[in-house]
């Protein structure tokens, strides 16, 4: 028998980045808000202290901040006709758990999307003709455009204390920044991180090739900073423990370092950790959510009634919760009808690795966002007809990052029959100081037969079906990845590097190899109800008091990192809720 909790105005499922933004915006309006988080409380002072976090084995190798498969995982298959198998270990992606979610362990690369990205489909068709889109490709325009989102990008960057250099300030090109970016209403709140020998080399080489390098915007404070909520951040010390770790120096932007300290002090707010939301409850007609059901760490079941329900989990869990709760019509790949789980996409990370003979670097020094980037091969910044072979849709950034390379990960012997061992492995390990990587973050288009659904066989610890991922790389995206890695190789060789190996996506998706955590789609934001789950405010078309935030809104994966756009789209949605929905609850966009 479930224990019924006192009703509140809003309940938030998942207390990571989007959940913290929702809690801040609504409590500022005086609403009573409860957030339910499956993981533990994680504090900078006690959980992320440097002496705790600077431990590669515990956090990077054993995934100390990630949700473990025993708690939550997915099944995976390549084709709708295949039987899916469970992902029994953490592999291709690493999803956080606990307060802060994946925004506690993220690297901190703080990209805006290119203006063209928001209307990719219509732009590509107008320039190249409809033939460039295969019939199976279901990529579509975003529900918002760059100009509409720009004020929220600006707000979010100031909230996060992003360090970078504007390249286009209100239409004027600014030296040192990215000349290809969309117009910005303001510069970044902090100057870029300091460069190091490796990023200087990339910068110099890219310029010599006629490309347009700029410092990656980084969600690490390059100087002491106080954000608009009054939360103070410390200056980054380049310790190199960012991606996979919590920042103990209050430098990396996370919900902990930017929003949560304010929200936790508000009387209207309550956080319940170790509380897993098992389903959203709806009225008998299914048109209105009445609250959520959740299970606490003792196994006891509770009902939390609420006027509004916010699904703020990670991309995959957002679709899962919608599907197990019967919110929205599940996508059917055979007919193309239905929306929940539609347009799931991953990302095609690629790289070329180089031995820099006679050179030495300091690979332990770094920050997750410390890099030099070019956007010359992202979006439609290059003529897609001029690429060798058949043209493709998409692109991505190329860059050189000095993240802070830790010793276990840097000394990997490889896998399978080709793995190196013996004295040869020790010799290979000694390349640690003179190896550089040029990487690309290739976007990923969406396809009719790549989607999320419920698995008929495998269950989670609460008896619910696991989420089933049906996905593989497609020829369009493989060609794009190959092209991008060709450019990585060209730049790296011009840097004086001797090619060690390439990582491009010529074969099938490998669930065991970590690539990136950037999953998108499944609960897409769309202009019309037949093309997505939510409108541009994150409000579900089917159930107007249920809202969904995160990269689940993206209709395909862009060629850059998602977090800043996740923050900006959430702020845009919340702005609409405060201005419109709270005054007159109901559908905010006519369906």
């Amino acid at each position: 028998m479930a224990t019924r909790k006192p009703a509140v105005d809003a309940v938030i499922c998942g207390f990571g980045l989007t959940g913290a933004l929702v809690a801040e915006a609504l409590t500022a309006q005086g609403l009573r808000v409860v957030a339910l988080e499956r993981g533990s409380m994680l504090r900078t002072s006690t959980d992320f202290a440097p002496a705790i976090q600077m431990d590669e084995l515990r956090f990077q190798q054993r995934h100390g901040l990630m949700v473990q498969p025993v708690q939550s995982t997915q099944t995976f298959r390549y084709e709708p006709s295949d039987e899916a198998l469970p992902m029994r270990d953490i592999g291709a992606w690493q999803i956080g758990t606990g307060v802060g979610g994946s925004a506690a362990h993220w690297a901190g690369q703080a990209f805006r999307l290119m203006p063209d990205e928001f209307h990719l489909r219509s732009h590509m068709i107008s320039r190249y003709g409809a033939d460039i889109f295969p019939d199976s490709m279901t990529s579509q325009d975003y529900a918002v455009g760059y100009e509409e989102l720009e004020p929220f990008y600006d707000r979010f960057e100031k909230l996060m204390g992003v360090s970078g250099q504007a390249g286009n300030l209100r239409g004027t090109i600014v030296p040192g920044g990215n000349p290809l970016e969309g117009p910005r209403s303001d510069n970044y709140p902090n100057p870029p991180l300091q460069r190091v020998k490796s990023t200087e080399l990339f910068d110099k080489t890219a310029k010599s090739l006629g490309l347009h390098p700029y410092p990656c915007a980084a969600a690490h404070a390059s100087r002491p900073y106080t954000n608009p909520l009054g939360v103070r951040m410390g200056q980054c010390t380049y310790c190199g423990f960012c991606s996979g770790y919590g920042c103990g120096n209050y430098s990396k932007s996370s919900p902990q370092t930017t929003i949560i300290p304010v929200v936790m002090r508000r009387d209207e707010f309550e956080l319940r950790t170790l509380s897993v939301v098992t389903r959203i409850l709806t009225d008998t007609m299914g048109k209105r959510a009445t609250g959520v059901e959740y299970v606490d760490v003792s196994g006891a079941t509770f009902v939390q009634p609420a006027e509004m329900v916010f699904i703020c989990s990670f991309t995959l869990a957002n679709s899962h919760l919608l599907l197990v709760s019967g919110i929205g019509i599940p996508y059917d790949a055979a007919t193309g009808q239905g929306v929940v789980g539609r347009n799931y996409a991953f990302q095609l990370w690629g790289a070329a690795n180089f031995l820099m003979v006679g050179q030495g670097y300091d690979p332990w020094i770094g920050a997750g966002g410390l890099g030099q980037i070019i956007d010359d091969y992202d979006c439609d910044n290059f003529d897609h007809r001029a690429v060798p072979g058949q043209p493709f849709v998409g692109g991505g950034y190329i860059g050189l990052f000095q993240y802070g390379n830790q010793p276990i990960g840097s000394c990997s012997p490889g896998t399978g029959k080709d793995a190196v061992w013996g004295s040869a492995l020790k010799k290979q390990m000694t390349n640690y100081k003179n190896t550089l990587q040029v990487q690309s973050m290739g976007g990923n288009q969406s396809y009719k037969d790549c989607y999320l659904s419920l698995d008929p066989t495998y269950k989670d610890p609460y008896g619910r079906p696991l989420l089933r991922v049906t996905y593989n790389f497609k020829d369009n995206d493989r060609r794009m990845s190959h092209f991008l890695v060709d450019q990585c190789q060209r730049i790296g060789e011009a840097m004086g590097g001797k090619l060690l190996n390439r990582v491009d996506r010529s074969g099938s998706f490998d669930t065991t190899e970590f690539q990136t955590t950037h999953n998108s789609g499944g609960a897409v934001a769309s202009a019309t109800p037949d093309k997505g789950v939510v409108n541009k405010f994150g409000q579900t078309w089917s159930t107007p008091n249920v809202f969904v935030y995160g990269a689940s809104q993206f209709p395909q994966t862009p060629g850059r990192n998602p977090t800043i756009t996740v923050g900006a789209t959430t702020l845009l949605g919340l702005d609409g809720i405060v201005k419109t929905y709270l005054k007159s609850p109901g559908a905010m966009v006519p369906g």
Binding site: D89, G360, C411, K426, K427
Partner: protein, 254 residues
């Protein structure tokens, strides 16, 4: 490393003191209580700093849990000795205490596979869909070593010379010993992965003794603030290696 040598005969003064002040659970607790007055008297004449220097912490690895039987430990030690051999580049995996690292990792929740999704049905799939076996890593070591030791090459592995052990490990890696009892390729991959992790992780986990792994690659250990070194440009750093527990002496006498 001189501090790494155990007294060859009798008990050195250092060892006496170390036993007297041994901390931790179990029988040593009693020793500790009984030993206190003696140590107090013995050290009373020394300055506090000198007394501290004469009481190095006890061997860290003694407090780590164990999984291996003697036979298993001997097998893994012989393998680690070839996967990361001592050579002209410096100490190998055995001197870095890697077998002890693997032993303690397998004894814990990770070795027992408590983080994995192990619900059935268990079915085979392509390797790119991940390891579908629900056998914990510790069990993989145990069953494979036991089955390999029943083979002639496996039985003589521990006493074989380096060249013969290399041939055996290469065959294991290439899948030549696969059978119902032996998941040879999976076992080899685990052994190699764990050997590298033991060589390169913080010594508080039992391996990387004397910072052997980190010294091989000139890794200076985690540091809180690298800001003064942003323009170091890859030059050698003149600083002692300091791990989670501090400098080498803080890790005991491993």
């Amino acid at each position: 490393m001189t501090t790494g040598k155990k007294p060859s005969n009798g008990l050195s003064r250092r060892r006496l003191l170390r036993q007297a002040v041994a901390t931790g659970a179990g029988p040593s607790r009693r020793t500790f209580i009984v030993g206190v007055p003696t140590v107090t008297i013995a050290l009373a004449a020394l300055s506090p700093i000198m007394a501290f220097a004469l009481q190095p912490p006890r061997r860290l690895s003694e407090s780590l849990p164990r999984f291996f039987t003697d036979d298993e430990r001997a097998f893994v030690t012989s393998a680690v000795d070839r996967l990361l051999p001592a050579d002209e580049l410096g100490p190998g995996g055995v001197a870095a205490n890697v077998p002890r690292f693997i032993d303690s990792q397998l004894a814990g929740p990770w070795g027992r596979g408590e983080n994995r999704y192990v619900a059935g049905p268990v079915k085979d799939g392509p390797p790119t869909l991940g390891d579908q076996a629900v056998t914990p890593r510790a069990t993989l070591y145990r069953t494979c070593i036991a089955a390999l030791r029943l083979l002639p090459a496996g039985r003589s592995f521990v006493s074989a010379d380096a060249a013969a052990r290399d041939v055996f490990l290469k065959s294991l890696q290439q899948g030549e010993y696969e059978s119902d009892q032996i998941q040879g390729k999976r076992f080899f991959a685990a052994l190699l992965e764990d050997t590298v992790a033991g060589f390169m992780s913080d010594p508080s986990y039992g391996g990387n003794a004397g910072f052997a792994g980190w010294k091989l690659i000139s890794y200076p250990a985690p540091h809180y603030d690298w800001t003064p070194y942003l323009k170091n440009d890859g030059r050698p750093l003149a600083m002692p290696v300091i791990g989670t527990f501090g400098p080498l002496d803080s890790y005991g006498l491993d």
